[in-house]
Symmetry: D5
Subunit: 123 residues, 10 copies
């Protein structure tokens, strides 16, 4: 696949003894429908509790821009982003919520959650 | 009944080891009131956690369009859609929420939930 | 009292083995304040899980219109509607939420809930 | 007709040398449909530029409450209110805008304007 | 064409000496795209100043429901409704504003206005 | 203190065997800042489950108007209202939520909850 | 009357050769109803084009707070504020729009405009 | 430039004797900033009064998608779209309003209008 | 004054024969109150019709950031920005609308307009 | 670091035997991005349950204004504010929710929660 998770950069979590939630919302996501070749548009919400690393915001933007030319279904793009985020950040907890705009009178939202059972998680 | 569940097509859930929620919202539902013959209008929200199959979105649209000429009550249409969805997808969990527009100063919302007790469900 | 619960008609719940929620919202409720004789206005939300019977929507409208000439306090009208609904439907669970418009700078909401302890209720 | 315009009371306009606009909005209007006997609901906006008299607000409320038991069409109720207001206030300019709630999927707004050609009107 | 303007009924304008605006909004319009066969959905606003006749609201609803099975483009449906309204009502002034829902990321609004130059029109 | 809780009047709870929630919202609260002498403004939400008595709404309005000339801090006014309400009503449960408008770029909300451990409370 | 216009302070308009609009909105106005003794609440919008003087904002706040204990009708308070503003500022143009909250199901808006015919006004 | 106006298709205006307004809104516009190479996002509103031709909506979508890979400034993209629309449609009147999302705390809207002085235009 | 208009950069208007409107909105303006030393916050809307030059957006951002440490009144900051914009761009028409947040219960909006009488302006 | 927590002043919690929630929202937060030197903007929500001390609101404003010249990342500013609040107030429970505006198409929210395990906390 053309999307490279190595684009994602991290910085050290300076507060590892405290569980806290970080949320980044990408308001301008676009990919391509693999069936019709038509562009898809959406809003992607990232929420996570960091373990040792936090994602650097500008690198997250560049990572997401790679999907601009990528043909991929709603369910798959959401799960793939989660796989990449978990591989790079190893968070205690994470959720990706992807909201896609109306196509043929239907809108869609895919929500994927991840737990690191070995880690303490914010109540 | 004239509504045929075989119109619904599925594709393989590529992430079967992860519980995640898929939501599709049909903003343009219309059926016919069996009592008065007048058209009804509504918004139908589908939420489910896939087991082995996901519903293909265009086929869901065509399935829903069959109700355009169908005389059926609010409570029954919501439960019938759930029956068809469960029969075709066999999801781990599902919810149908049907919001109908104002008639005689009253609006209505019917919410049906389904659990497959044998399956693991997203927390 | 001039409000007659026999106006309420029911139809058979065709899905008695499934707990599901039915919500009807009356956007145009009006009664009379017993103290001042002035009209009161509000929005009444009905939510219930049917046992054997569902309420027929047009009869619910006619039932509610009886309060147009009825002098009755907020707390009492909400509880009386619940009493009538329970007597006629014998639901597994029900909630009446009555929102009244501003009088003297105050608005009011009365919420009454009913459980049939003998019945299974939607989780 | 049962609606009596003599219920309307006035007080002296203390600023007759200045054109200014007075707007009162009745958020809780209800009348009866003469065809079906069903209640109608709406919001009525009064705007006028006073000549010698202003309408007293409580008397306007009592005047409007007379329509609670009156069978009358949308177009007629709006024009009748205007006739009564003009007869009692003799304003320099007036507008009645009556917004009625949804019936059968249609909502309606009737707007009637009045000019006293002999009077100076606010620019 | 299958849409019959004779379904429209009128009643006498009781206030012919006063120019006033009547607005009816159909919140639940649906027709069929002649190219794809897919249903279209929209909201249609009617505004007019009556001459001798007003349109009866229930007949307007039945007239609009005829488009449910009609294959017709946005621009044409809006102009056709105007032609029918003018033929039946002969209003002093009229405007039809048709708002259609999103298709392929585009929404559309068609606005048609009509003037009877021989008639006096509300300022 | 100049605020007198004896202004509060009560009426009998006619449904003591049923737990239900009563909410009154005062949209027009004003008091005085004891430090600056400047007026404060807010919205006060009362929610409670009655035991034997309900608060009469007009007396609640008069009680609240006493704060118009009272110098008192946000935290104290919210707790004092709760103390007075509990003393007069002896409710099974109560919550006061006081929302104050922006001062120096900050808005504030104080929320106080009360439980009568000896009483049954609505689930 | 107890309201003193001398509380209003002004500062020099540094841009007298340019017509521009200044708008101040008082979100927290309160006065007293002279008939019932009950408090009234509203939002007051001031718009004006300065001639030689601008109103100092803190003094405008203190001026408005004087109405807190003043019994005065909607129409009169709006015109009186305009009289005071014109006397102190001598603006090229001014408008006061006073929006009052709901009383007995009615809300009210009074709008007063002032032109200094001898002055140039912003197009 | 890589954007080809020949992608735009037209159909005959069936109502050439009537001035009416057609509005299409593209909710999912994206182009590329020529300076930074970063993607831009916006909403583009087209309004026009047709002469002999109307634009076919699907071809307008394909035309707009060509900007997905185009490096072009806000002011230029708006004027270029207008140039192409005028060349292909020769409308009586047209307006393009392009709203771009926030960059560095600034959002932008460019509005271009076109008149064909030789043509009659909707009042 | 510490604010330097030379920070503003321009680029050539490529469509000088067409009047069109450019609007930039700065959502994150902050300056300092010269009286209290407290920070002020606001939203500044720029609208103009270019003559030969357009303002470069990033330089506009840097120009506006200079006010972060500047003590200046609402009326003066709005007029000063207009003076700088006119000096640098020499537009055909321009408007600055500055909306400031609530202070002591008052919000303010200052609107300044500029016309170059020698230039043709968009209708 | 230049931010001094000693600016924060407290007053005695007069209701220490009752758990209640205090929420202050700073609508006008601004700091500086340590990477780019560009200003950041946000809204900061403080919620806490007091033990023996409450924070004085004006001192909280002055404390927050210190960040105006401070270069600090989103995650760090939120945790630092929590550290300072806990050190000064020793609350039973606290939450800081910091919402930052859009940068490069992304907005961010950081939420930090604190529990004093030795203290009783509001249910």
């Amino acid at each position: 696949m053309a999307v490279d998770r190595n684009v994602l950069e991290t910085f050290e979590n300076r507060f590892p003894n405290r569980d806290y939630e970080i949320k980044h919302t990408c308001h301008e996501f676009t990919s391509v429908c693999p069936k019709t070749g038509q562009p898809d548009f959406g809003t992607i919400h990232f929420r996570y509790t960091a373990n040792e690393k936090c994602v650097e915001l500008k690198s997250l933007k560049l990572y997401m821009q790679q999907y601009r030319h990528e043909g991929i279904f709603y369910e798959n793009v959401t799960n793939s982003i989660m796989d990449d985020l978990v591989a790079v950040l190893k968070p205690r907890w994470a959720e990706i919520k992807a909201e896609f705009t109306v196509r043929g009178g239907f809108s869609s939202i895919i929500t994927v959650e991840y737990f690191d059972d070995a880690a303490k998680v914010l109540g």
